[in-house]
């Protein structure tokens, strides 16, 4: 087995569904200065990208939107996988590696995981806010291990995953697709000749949904409450259910990934979340 194969197998054995390798040179063609892997790890040559399905398939079928977040699984283990990978590379191959990157400043990440995933061949950008979609898994969640080890990169996919052929057909008839229809506040765009012609993503509006109960929401709530002259209203703002849910989310670290509506009815994502039929019992329970 090649070294690249060993590294990928290591990630898969620890819980990643897919592992791809991107070269820092490829990433740096697109990432702006200050947001490149070698800004984070001096001398970085490769980024190993681990992907998993974000949550249980059942979470998507729960009427309580907060179940999205509370059923996240890959998010809970991804840091452990990439950290194990980093230690594996350092101990087995003698190259520097790290598995966590500096935190974002506001909405600006220190490193685009989407770009890393794209350059590692794990998927391509979708009409749904540029979310990376994978042909097999659909909606994926990503984690990275940055290393100084030169590795053979997988490189980006040759063919775009999005749009699905059913979306192309629908666009021709109705000039819309499921993601655009679901979230017109955040998403806009057009298809042409079966491909994405252009798209626009309002990440600021979007962020109020996946980060609904978050430090950002709490900061704004605090500002509004501090400016509220009516003490009864102020009490309601601070002690009410939204405030309490927000504080609880912050205390438990459950502050991201609280929305996935734009990809709920995406045909690529729906295929990815099909249960394995050989394990499903029929309605009579036999």
């Amino acid at each position: 087995m090649t070294i690249e194969g060993e590294i990928k197998q290591f990630g898969i054995q620890r819980g990643a569904k897919l592992v791809g390798i991107a070269s820092v040179a490829d990433i740096n063609k697109y990432a702006p200065q200050g947001h490149r892997p070698d800004d984070i790890l001096i001398g970085a040559k490769s980024v190993i990208v681990c992907a998993g399905f974000p949550y249980t398939h059942g979470a998507v079928r729960c009427p309580d939107y907060q179940a999205f977040q509370s059923n996240y699984d890959f998010v809970r283990i991804r840091g452990g996988i990439t950290l194990a990978l980093a230690k594996f590379i350092e101990s087995e191959y003698g190259y520097y590696a790290l598995a966590d990157v500096p935190p974002p400043v506001g909405l600006y990440p220190s490193l685009s995981f989407k770009l890393c995933g794209e350059m590692a061949g794990l998927g391509t950008r979708s009409m749904a806010g540029g979310i990376i979609l994978n042909n097999e898994l659909g909606f994926i969640n990503l984690a990275v291990c940055v290393t100084t080890m030169p590795l053979e990169a997988d490189g980006p996919l040759g063919e775009p995953v999005c749009p699905d052929s059913s979306c192309v057909e629908r666009w021709e008839k109705q000039r819309t697709v499921p993601c655009l229809e679901t979230c017109p506040e955040c998403l806009s765009g057009e298809l042409e000749n079966g491909e994405i012609k252009w798209m626009r993503f309002d990440r600021r509006i979007c962020s109020t949904r996946p980060q609904n109960h978050s430090p950002v929401a709490f900061a704004r709530l605090l500002l509004e409450a501090s400016e509220e002259p009516n003490p009864e209203m102020r009490r309601s703002m601070i002690l009410g259910s939204f405030s309490r849910n927000t504080i609880q989310a912050i205390a438990s670290g459950a502050v991201v990934g609280q929305c996935g509506e734009c990809v709920r009815n995406c045909p690529i994502v729906m295929r990815g979340r099909q249960l394995a039929s050989n394990h499903v019992r029929n309605q009579s329970g036999s």
Partner: protein, 93 residues
């Protein structure tokens, strides 16, 4: 280095900084366009002749401040409605 920005500076640049930041992402095909938006704080600072720290602070405040105060509450209700709708459209396995 962290610094507070003056109200005057914030009011003057908040909209511009936000529009130039990654808050709005425009793609041609699947290629992210970075001529006018999705710029780094360093790039915005260069274009507006500001310090990088000033841009960072203006951007961080504007990302939250320029949305209506009830946006997060409305988002919760929006998601509640969307999630509940699946009971009528997807049924049970």
């Amino acid at each position: 280095m962290f610094q507070y920005v003056s109200p005057e500076l914030y009011e003057k640049y908040k909209q511009k900084v936000l529009e130039m930041s990654p808050a709005i992402q425009c793609y041609e095909g699947t290629k992210l366009m970075r001529e006018h938006s999705c710029l780094t704080d360093e790039e915005i600072a260069d274009r507006l002749c500001l310090d990088v720290d000033q841009v960072t602070e203006i951007r961080c405040i504007a990302e939250i401040d320029l949305l209506p105060a009830d946006t997060w509450l409305k988002s919760a209700e929006w998601k509640r409605q969307k999630a509940r709708r699946i009971l009528g459209t997807e049924g049970t396995q």
